[in-house]
């Protein structure tokens, strides 16, 4: 797997590079998609990343927070971050007007092992903001469609109004080269066009060949439990289940100690871990 090291400020690993917010796309309540462009043209050209990697985003005057890259490296030029407003840095970001400047450093983390995943079926299971890193992977595999076998996306939200990237994902329903399964837990108005029910119910609609499938799971903690159960029921090997973990982060580069989980640092050894890694690390789940 190619692993890109930090491109920002070669001799200072903490140096943020300036980037401009060129578009703000409101998503659901308290979630926005920010399109960013590096100020430095050289950075714009040289910044490459793997799906599943993240950046440290600085709001000048407030602080730094790790955010997954939501765009795909197959579509260079802009960088998209999908952010939920939840604390100091994210609130400050939401207060910034269009065309403001923020700081970025990265990309960090291991990202998905996309090369090892080639020539396999992919089962992508997302819940809530878990779609942020998985959207990067999704567009990456769709833009490299011939390298992968079957692609299935399962994504659940509580209600239609809470589905991230809803219109973009609904447009995938028509694609014949993948199976896009979108579900909402509740549909009181009866307007949701496809499945209703929790995300695990979507497993009723798919065949899984455990020998040649990678499952990729990212979502809120409770989702993992139920999805993992389903995957193990279908005999998926534990080292073919990939999950993205979240821990408190400060440095993003394996120094500050905040993101430790068992013997590893989420920021450099992860955030993508196999389920096998997970059960071998105390504290992981």
């Amino acid at each position: 797997m190619s692993n890109y090291s930090a491109k920002s400020g070669a001799d200072n690993i903490y140096q943020p590079s300036l980037a401009r917010i060129v578009r703000i796309l409101p998503q659901i309540k308290d979630h926005r998609l920010f399109e960013l462009r590096f100020e430095d043209p050289e950075m714009r050209r040289s910044f490459t990343y793997n799906p599943g990697q993240f950046v440290e985003l600085s709001v000048i005057g407030t602080g730094e927070a790790p955010v997954s890259i939501s765009s795909s490296p197959t579509r260079p030029g802009v960088l998209e971050l999908c952010v939920r407003k939840i604390g100091r840095v994210t609130e400050a970001l939401f207060r910034l007007p269009l065309n403001s400047v923020v700081g970025l450093r990265g990309p960090y983390g291991n990202g998905f092992p996309v090369e090892a995943m080639e020539r396999n079926n992919l089962l992508i299971v997302a819940g809530g903001l878990g779609m942020a890193p998985l959207r990067s992977l999704l567009w990456y595999v769709l833009d490299n469609r011939s390298k992968f076998k079957e692609i299935i996306l399962m994504f659940g939200a509580k209600i239609s109004e809470e589905m991230l990237f809803k219109f973009e994902l609904l447009s995938l329903l028509d694609r014949t080269d993948m199976k896009c399964l979108l579900t909402v837990d509740k549909d009181e108005e009866g307007t949701w066009p496809v499945q209703v029910g929790v995300v695990t119910r979507l497993f009723d609609f798919v065949e899984i060949d455990p020998e040649i499938t990678y499952a990729i799971v990212c979502g809120p903690p409770i989702m993992y439990k139920f999805v993992l159960e389903k995957l193990l029921e279908r005999n998926l090997p534990k080292d073919r289940i990939l999950m993205s973990l979240e821990r408190r982060m400060k440095c993003g580069v394996g120094k500050c100690g905040h993101c430790s989980v068992g013997y590893k640092y989420t920021c450099i050894d992860g955030p993508i871990f196999t389920y096998w890694d997970a059960i071998n690390l105390p504290e992981m789940i």
Partner: protein, 342 residues
Amino acid sequence: MQIVKLPKENLDKFVGSLSKFGEIHAPIKKDENTYLFSKIEDLSKIELNYNRTILPPKKYFLPPTETIFRFSPEKGYEPPKDNLNRKYVLLGVHSCDIHGLKILDLVFSGTYVDNYYFTRRKNTSIIGVSCIPDDMCFCRSMETDFVEDGFDLFLSDMDDSYLVRIATSLGDDMVRASQSLFKEVDKEDIAEYKRKSNEMKNYFKIGLELYNLPEIMDLEYESKIWGEMGEKCLSCGTCSMVCPTCYCYDVFDELNLDGKTGERRRRWDSCLFKDHALVAGGLNFRKERSSRVKNRYFHKQRGFVAQYGRPSCVGCGRCIQSCPAKVDIVEVITKIRSVDYE
């Protein structure tokens, strides 16, 4: 390694000569039984016969707090122009603390090199000194009672003189600059050195057994000891501050009065603090004190072994000496290892 002899009556002259290699810092006595590394203005204040300093030498390389950037909306983030390049001579560092620095080197290097740390590291020469363990030292158990590298010179106390190991070309320059103060090592010195060396083990009052410790810790992951320690520990974080190998830090932005410009700073942090693993929205991965104490011990004695091949404790005894709740690392590990303790 080249070894020469420095008679003690020449020590002051030699130390005086070191100021051309950098600002001299060495242990001084603060109170009865408390020592600290400090800038030396008066050579007579230097205390080379000391058990341990309150803070380890890490404070010179990872200061308790430091500015990593100044920021402004116009210029973004700029590293401070402070003089990271100032030269220092750190005199009187014990073997365990040199190992502590070598462990920090592992952490701050790798794919991402922390140059705030390494610039200071490069600009600071280290002169080690031998010591006699007290009742809180267990460096021998941690295999840090002897050090092969990580210093420029190392002084071994021979009562009337020091045997001086010269480990680097800079160390050699220091000796050469005052060549006349040094003598050759003779047969008697060698015999005396061996005698002292063989006696060393008799001084240790406490120790722990490393053999199979990682596996035993895995087996005792659910041990009731963690609950007991959680009850005792106050989450004050002192043990992390005084530890030569604890490196956790927090980063925060501070605004100036203009509300626009400011500084990004970092400061020592502790995994014992309640919010260490707290994420936005309120989820805390180590909410219980017991889980935080357990994490500290697991990281030092278990996790670090998995990552870097050795424990990250050097047996300096500082956490034992400083803990207000009398949490004692040797006692904890001894209990975990004991067959009778379930």
